[in-house]
């Protein structure tokens, strides 16, 4: 059974009323993974024994009607640590790493009774937009196996699109949840910086990274977010703010009078015409539902890519200093001295994209470059954030395309890093400002039939309005119900 045409609420009802057991659902997830994953390659590790064990225990105890996620199979991106289960960040340098603790988000999931079926593929250390930078495998897009699933949370997005699970955890540093969601026709929410704990998430760029969900529907995403959001003593950047009842509040969702800002910089040059066409139709649809659509300007948008690649690479070069071949992970063979351990371990353990980013970051932070690069980019970050805040004073949300194109062909961009970076044009600025952003399925390209995502950006800590706007759209359209034709369904 593929997890299509069902949702968290339906499965929960079936579980509580014993129409299905947690064991049956978990077995169904593994059956679907085995039927699809030779083609899709979404998973790096399966957690079959522990998952079935946990399901059996839940079935024996009975499903708690107050735990909507109890017995629901879900997946976890492989840069989020899971106790006793290999966590690699898709890097050779962590190929055999077995964490001794669970990340806060995993701990919360397990406490909610959810079942972790396995770890999903990503670009090494979440650096990339296609999963082609994984040291182990390239995930393929279930809608067209010759195309990438996007990245870096490409494994999570493909697993959801393939019907393996209803939801999968992702991380988003510059668009890594939203862009793959757009490429795979699923929902992807990056919450406000600080909404979700980062404790146990393998750090890439600490002032940008956030954990969120890839899911088949907005409502499921809201269920899943409720389970992981909130302050955490172990992450001092997690925000001490109450988490709303996202799902319950959806019942009141309405877009009549919703003030939607549409930045003119999110259309035109550099954004494919087939993508613009779908997004313009979605905006017209919101208008027909009574929303007020205004064209606005976010003038510093084009500086987002250079500023982001300076700041995020700088943070990465610092965060990745810990991989030294001493206490855990890969160590190069036949090393002669300490310097050799460091240099050869890192040179053999990191892939080319990670090395490029470490080089960019080290350069930007080095004496003589700091002011012109790192400090300058941090000032531009302020200007980008001010742009957003100014627009969001008079508007409830900002909308536009999530990605500049639909899913591109495997191999098409991986040899040209700078071209690959431009994929993040419409998503990085949200991370710079720390705002919540979600991609929802908005239709299909007339050119190649691939899914197109609509991006909805909200005010800080106002995920609710973003969910509401996406929910109304999905209640009255059926794009999110379309599924790829892939072997092993039914």
């Amino acid at each position: 059974m593929a997890f299509y045409n069902t949702d968290v609420a339906q499965l929960h009802d079936d579980l509580v009323n014993k129409r299905v057991s947690a064991t049956e659902l978990t077995k169904a997830a593994f059956k679907q993974i085995k039927a699809t994953d030779d083609d899709v390659k979404a998973f790096l590790a399966l957690n079959e024994e522990a998952a079935l064990d946990q399901a059996a225990k839940l079935d024996q105890a009975g499903i708690d009607p107050d735990q909507p996620l109890a017995g629901i199979p879900l997946a976890v991106k492989d840069n989020i640590v899971t106790k006793g289960l290999t966590t690699t960040a898709a890097s050779k340098i962590l190929a055999n790493f077995k964490p001794v603790y669970d990340a806060t988000v995993v701990e919360k999931l397990l406490a909610a009774g959810a079942i972790n079926v396995g770890k999903t593929n990503l670009d090494e250390f979440a650096m990339g937009s296609s999963t082609e930078n994984s040291a182990f495998q390239t995930t393929r897009n279930p809608w067209d196996l010759t195309r990438v699933p996007g990245g870096s949370s490409g494994g999570s997005a493909a697993a959801v699109a393939a019907g393996d699970v209803l939801g999968a955890l992702g991380t988003d540093t510059g668009g890594s949840i939203r862009q793959p969601a757009s490429f795979n026709g699923v929902v992807g929410m990056k919450p406000t910086y600080g909404r979700v704990s980062r404790w146990g998430v393998i750090a890439f760029a600490s002032s940008f990274d956030q954990v969120g969900w890839l899911s088949q529907s907005v409502k499921d995403n809201a269920y899943l977010m409720e389970a992981i959001a909130g302050a955490d003593k172990r992450d001092m950047t997690s925000a001490n703010r109450e988490v709303p009842n996202y799902v319950a509040n959806l019942a009141k969702a309405d877009v009549k009078g919703l003030r939607i800002a549409v930045p003119k910089e999110y259309f035109g040059d550099g954004i494919d015409a087939d993508v613009q066409e779908v997004v313009e139709a979605a905006l017209a649809y919101y208008e027909s539902l009574g929303a007020i659509v205004d064209e606005v300007s976010l003038p510093h948008t084009k500086y987002g890519i250079p500023a982001y690649y300076i700041l995020a690479s700088s943070e990465a070069s610092s965060n990745l200093q810990r991989y030294d071949g001493i206490r855990y992970g890969f160590r190069a063979n036949d090393v002669k001295n300490l310097e050799d351990v460091y240099v050869r371990t890192r040179t053999e353990g990191f892939g080319p994209e990670v090395k490029r980013r470490i080089m960019l970051g080290t350069f930007s932070l080095s004496a003589g470059s700091y002011d012109a690069y790192f400090a300058k980019a941090a000032k531009v970050r302020r200007l980008i954030t001010d742009d957003f805040n100014k627009i969001l004073k008079d508007h409830d949300v900002i909308m536009g395309p999530t990605a500049v194109s639909t899913a591109f062909k495997i191999g098409a961009e991986v040899t040209d890093p700078t071209k690959m970076y431009m994929n993040d044009l419409l998503t990085v600025t949200t991370n710079m400002a720390g705002l919540p952003g979600m991609s929802v399925p908005a239709g299909f390209s007339k050119e190649n039939g691939m899914p197109v995502g609509l991006q909805i950006i909200g005010k800080a800590f106002d995920e609710q309005t973003v969910y509401d706007a996406g929910y109304v759209f999905e209640q009255t359209t059926d794009f999110h119900k379309q599924t790829p034709r892939l072997g092993g369904q039914n």
Partner: protein
């Protein structure tokens, strides 16, 4: 500011980052990095006089807590992740260079 990174500077940065590249790799990496840094030139033209740099979107103030050591009871699991161990300790190569014997 549109100066090129260049091969020698790239080697210096690699040294700072504890990475090394072969000549063939530098042939590929240096133009790629220069290409990306070309994007950075746009920033140099911007007037940012008086703009306060922003290093993080967090609005949380520093949170203080007591620094209390808690036994993890996971010595074996931790050691199992180490590349080389000996009698319950992590083994590392000699810090003194042995390559010049």
């Amino acid at each position: 500011m549109a100066e090129k990174l260049g091969r020698e500077a790239a080697k210096h940065v690699a040294e700072l980052a504890k990475l090394s590249f072969t000549d063939e790799e530098l042939d590929q990496f240096v133009p790629q990095l220069e290409d990306t840094m070309h994007l950075f030139d746009d920033l140099q033209k911007m007037d940012t006089t008086g703009v306060e740099p922003m290093y993080s979107p967090t609005q949380e103030a520093n949170v203080m807590r007591e620094d209390v050591a808690v036994p993890s009871g996971q010595r074996d699991a931790l050691l199992a992740n180490a590349p080389e161990t000996d009698k319950g300790l992590i083994k590392v190569p000699a810090i003194i260079d042995e390559s010049e014997d």
